[in-house]
Amino acid sequence: MAELHIIGQVLGGSGFQFQTLFCKWSLVSGRNWELLEGLDQGQTQVDCAPDGDMVVWAHPIDVHYSCKGLTGWPKLSFQVWGQDVHGRNDICGYGFCHMPTAPGMHELDCVTWIPEGTVGERLRAFFVGGNPRLKLEEIVHTPGDRFRLQTQTSGIVHLQLGVIMKDFVANHVKC
C-alpha cells in the first residue's frame, strides 16, 4: 500500500473574461485510491484583481491518499466562475489536470474552456449574461465523446504543487 501527499496551492487565474473570479475545485480519483486526510474539494475566495494581473486565490491543498493500484491517478477538476458588478455568478471556464506523477515541486498552468452556444445564445450572453453551462460536469475530466461539443478557449489556472510519495519505490514503481 503506497501513499501519496499533494501539498500546494491553487495560486490563481489569468486571462479570463472577468477580473473578479473564484474557483470550485475537486479531486477525482479511481477506485484504487482512498482519501485518508484532507479535503478533496473546495471553493476559493472571490478575488477582484486589477486589469492585467493574476486573480489571486492562494487556496491551500493538502491531501493524503492511499493507493492499492496505479490506475485512477488523482486529477484536479475545476470550474472557474466570474462575478459581475451586480453579484451574479457566471461560468468562466472548465478545466482539469492530472496530479504530477513525479515527486518534487511543480508549477502547473492548466488551460480552461467554456461551451459556446448558438449565435442567439451568444448574443443574449453578451447583453444579459448567462454563458451556457455543461449539463454533465463529468465530461470535463473523463475521456469520452465530446465530439458534438463546441467550446471556446478561456483563461489559465495556475497551480503550485508539491508531491511526496511514500513506498512507491519499495513497490517497484518508477516515477
Binding site: L11, C48, A58, D62, H64, A102, P103, G104, D167
Partner: protein, 204 residues
C-alpha cells in the same frame, strides 16, 4: 546490530522574508505565522513574529526590504499538515494608523533545496462603497479575525477579497529521515526550483 528506526522525521526551514512590493505603498511591516497540522511539533525557532517597519528605496525600484530571518525546525510522523507560512502586511495610512495592506500564504516547499517564494497579497473587500469610505475615514478596514485564516482550506468561499502586491521569501529546506519513513520528496533529482516540472534525467 541495526540502529532503531527514528520515531519521526525532521524538516528544517531557514531563510528570510526579503521584502515586499506594495505598488508604491510606503512604510510597512509584516507579521508572520507558521501554521502546521496536528501531527507536527515545533522543535526550534519562532513560530510567529513581526518585522521592522521599512520604507521604499530612493531609486526606481519600489521594493520594501525587511531582510527578516526565518528559522524553524519541525518534527512529524506524517506529511499531512505540512507547515505553511502566513504573512499579514500592515502599513501606515495618511494619519499614521496601522491598516492592513494584504495577507499572503504559502506552504513551505516539500522538496529539500533553495526556493524563492512569491506570496501574492490579498485583503478583504468592504461590502459596499459606503463601508469602504467609512473604513478609509476611520482607519479600520476589514481584517480577518484570525490571522491564520489564509492557511485554512475551509470557509474561504464566503470571503471576497481584493488582491495587489506581493512578498518575496527566500527559503532553504532540509529534511532528515524522510527516506526511512518511505517518503520520496523529489529533491534527489534535477533542480528543486522548478518552472517547467522536475528534470527526469537518468530514468531510462
Amino acid at each position: 546490530m541495526a540502529d532503531p528506526l527514528p520515531s519521526c522525521f525532521t524538516v528544517m526551514a531557514t531563510g528570510q522574508i526579503e521584502g515586499a512590493d506594495l505598488n508604491g505603498n510606503d512604510n510597512a511591516y509584516c507579521k508572520f505565522h507558521f501554521v502546521a497540522g496536528e501531527d507536527w511539533q515545533l522543535l526550534d525557532g519562532l513560530e510567529e513574529g513581526i518585522t521592522q517597519s521599512s520604507r521604499v528605496s530612493q531609486g526606481p525600484d519600489q521594493m520594501l526590504v525587511w531582510n527578516f530571518p526565518l528559522d524553524v525546525t519541525y518534527k512529524s510522523t506524517n506529511a499531512y499538515g505540512w507547515p505553511q507560512l502566513v504573512v499579514s502586511v500592515y502599513g501606515l495610512d495618511y494619519l499614521g494608523r496601522d491598516v492592513i495592506k494584504g495577507y499572503g500564504c504559502m506552504h513551505i516547499p516539500t522538496c529539500a533545496g533553495r526556493h524563492t517564494l512569491k506570496l501574492r497579497l490579498f485583503k478583504p473587500r468592504s461590502a459596499s462603497g459606503l463601508q469602504s469610505f467609512l473604513a478609509w475615514l476611520s482607519g479600520m478596514p476589514a481584517e480577518f479575525s484570525d490571522p491564520r485564516f489564509p492557511s485554512y482550506g475551509e470557509g474561504r468561499e464566503v470571503t471576497r477579497v481584493v488582491s495587489g502586491g506581493h512578498v518575496i521569501v527566500q527559503i532553504n529546506v532540509m529534511t532528515k529521515d524522510m527516506e526511512l519513513f518511505g517518503y520520496t520528496d523529489g529533491s534527489s533529482r534535477g533542480s528543486a526550483n522548478t518552472a517547467q516540472g522536475p528534470a527526469l534525467q537518468g530514468l531510462f
